[in-house]
Symmetry: C2
Subunit: 351 residues, 2 copies
Amino acid sequence: MSLSSDSLRSADSAAEPDCSPRTITPTSPRLSAGREQFEFDLNLRHAGMRRVCLRVEWTGDLSLPALWLAGGISANRHVCANSVDGAPGWWQDAMGPQRALNPQHFCLLACDWLGADGQLDLPIDSADQADAIAYVLERLGIVRLHAFVGASYGGMVGQQFAIRHRLRLERLVSLSAAHRATPFASAFRALQRQVVTLGQTQCADAVGLSLARQLAMLSYRSADEFAERFDQPAEVRAGRVHCAAEDYLQHCGQRYVSQWSATAFLRLSESIDLHAVVPSQIRVPSHFLAVQGDWLAPAEWIAACAAEVSAPCTVERIESRFGHDAFLKDIDRVDALLHRALQTLSSEIAA
Amino acid sequence: MSLSSDSLRSADSAAEPDCSPRTITPTSPRLSAGREQFEFDLNLRHAGMRRVCLRVEWTGDLSLPALWLAGGISANRHVCANSVDGAPGWWQDAMGPQRALNPQHFCLLACDWLGADGQLDLPIDSADQADAIAYVLERLGIVRLHAFVGASYGGMVGQQFAIRHRLRLERLVSLSAAHRATPFASAFRALQRQVVTLGQTQCADAVGLSLARQLAMLSYRSADEFAERFDQPAEVRAGRVHCAAEDYLQHCGQRYVSQWSATAFLRLSESIDLHAVVPSQIRVPSHFLAVQGDWLAPAEWIAACAAEVSAPCTVERIESRFGHDAFLKDIDRVDALLHRALQTLSSEIAA
């Protein structure tokens, strides 16, 4: 294991799948925080023993009850502004003194996914991510998480963590994630990956990656939101038909390309499709959130997953015009769930 | 105008967006039928006066009451097996002695879309298609259609025909089509077109077109259908993750590429996004069909469109696991609607 403080990286990163202006819930840049980078050998499920590197950041004192926070495949370890990085993090709006995710009550930990740096060009399983997180917790001296709060791919990793490392976990909070990907969503991601590959084989890597990201964006949002935002009719520009959302999508695609590699996209996209757990093997108290209208993680699939959990389990359904991205965009509703899910903890802490 | 019998083309064509085996409702290859090809000057909405060619086929005697049938952008003029082409047509299953679309009662006409041959590399409007059809009806001596039965893009063209040529029309039957494309669906098509363009600029036209078609396929079907058909988990093949639906989609993409050009795809895909009518300008009796769960032509949009029609109008909603492709795959339900929509006609004919 090596412990090294690595260079600070802008946190206004691809973790945020929107490009619109955002309101920042104030968290103090003076919040106690830290960063470490761990290198170690890990037995990858589909590729055997490999040297890997997990980059971790925490906000709040390490002696506080620990929450592991995990988002989608383009989230990273910087969840909110803190003393090591004053820039807003990918879950900035979910943090604060009034929020369930309160860094005065909890130590909030997160990582850059295995594969996010594009150095691990191998099939990566959600189980690998869970194992790497367990290893790092050991190194940090954190015996037990008070909760693993994961959304989207992060929810899948949380499920794996609950199954593979349940003695390290009090409760699981899984947002917008089921026990496996749906065949329809997998097909869509497989085509996105083929678009990336088309770009790569034709020396147009950036174009391919940008297009794949733009396609992925469509699966993160709802038709209702697009209808509100991009209502202008299509128009003919220089002999081609131009649709209202194209400029926005292209901007998002370009921004993504400036921060991510094709390899990272391919391997993390694949990892979602590899995810498969037997929900009955989850034996810790669990809270699931399902968003009506999210076709990447359909509410019915999440309900079916939760029904099999071998421990006390709740499922909440919300409506959100943001679809799969509700955990990033409908913060108040998600916060309400988190308050309930972490309630026992909060009252313990308040006492 | 030139009248020429052109070479027969296989009808087992890309009009059929599925690749699975199909049951053929028997229509007789001896059914009276004909084909013509009309060349004429047409004032295109976005490109001015141009020489165009419309290829038409009819099944049933030209003296019978005439129905114009129109499907999606990959439909063509061959709707069913008949004396000029014994191969099944793209709406084969909807035809027959017990069906509403009965070639013993009606003359069933259809065309290859303007742009389908890849020769018209210009923005093509649904209004242009309607005008071309009106021109051809004039040349064929058909004063008035008993109905325009259009599905998907064909429904859009039918709406234009009803508005621009209403004296030529008794009634409109518009299936799975609204007064305009939704911004979300338009964005998805715009990205498909960019994938084609990526292929073209990189000398990988076939790969780009195939991928675009595969992406489009996803919008024609539902997640439920994929969940039933492609339930096998993803697997690692030669170091890459392979999803269950990939082989099927690739097969469909390759088949499409063997029959269609990139230009045809681009211009007809654009044409859907250009479609925009004011429903209150529809002044003929109309019947709309909406499929619950079709996100290309949402039931709410179709209902909103129908509500504005300035003539007697019905809207029917059905559930179908085939989503947008219900008009091709849930034939019995569509036939029931067509029976009701054409009822007056049928009883007139029976009398």
